[in-house]
Amino acid sequence: DVKVTQSSRYLVKRTGEKVFLECVQDMDHENMFWYRQDPGLGLRLIYFSYDVKMKEKGDIPEGYSVSREKKERFSLILESASTNQTSMYLCASNSPLGPQPQHFGDGTRLSIL
């Protein structure tokens, strides 16, 4: 089974802090994704990556950046956290070979105070 592991289930940070959310997958997937999930808005794509050192903006990249130095790891960075970034963050991965569902991590519930 594919395992996507997010480093924290719950995280509380303060406004203005630099925040790192880590995601690791164990299936050698090229594709990795970061979403945020908010009530009534569903999942919205922040950034994604098709390979090491590659990144593409999603629908809501403002205030975020990402890093992919190794194939298995995809980090989401909040450069200067703000209260409107309080949300559930979900990481996902899949293989580019044929239509494959994305496999999701358990999510990180981030609160910015």
Binding site: N31, F33, G42, L45, P99, Q100, P101, Q102
Partner: protein, 112 residues
Amino acid sequence: ELKVEQNPLFLSMQEGKNYTIYCNYSTTSDRLYWYRQDPGKSLESLFVLLSNGAVKQEGRLMASLDTKARLSTLHITAAVHDLSATYFCAVDRNSGNTPLVFGKGTRLSVIA
């Protein structure tokens, strides 16, 4: 821009009843995915539908795809409490292996 709309967004149904969740999308795509999310948990893949007329079934859930109508349905037969969850449909942005666009989800509650 691809838009994905689900309805209803909230559904309360009695055990033993049947119901259908609808997923409409705005541009051509032949790849549609259904996911389930339990409260406090992550998303679990249910079905992958890849062509017009595709039908997949697992237990009391059956999903179908009509690419000409840009519509997928998730039919629930004889609902049981264990099916209570939020169900999302998601569509590929184009025919390549590109990021998905998700619907807002349908929160299903099955009551006795």
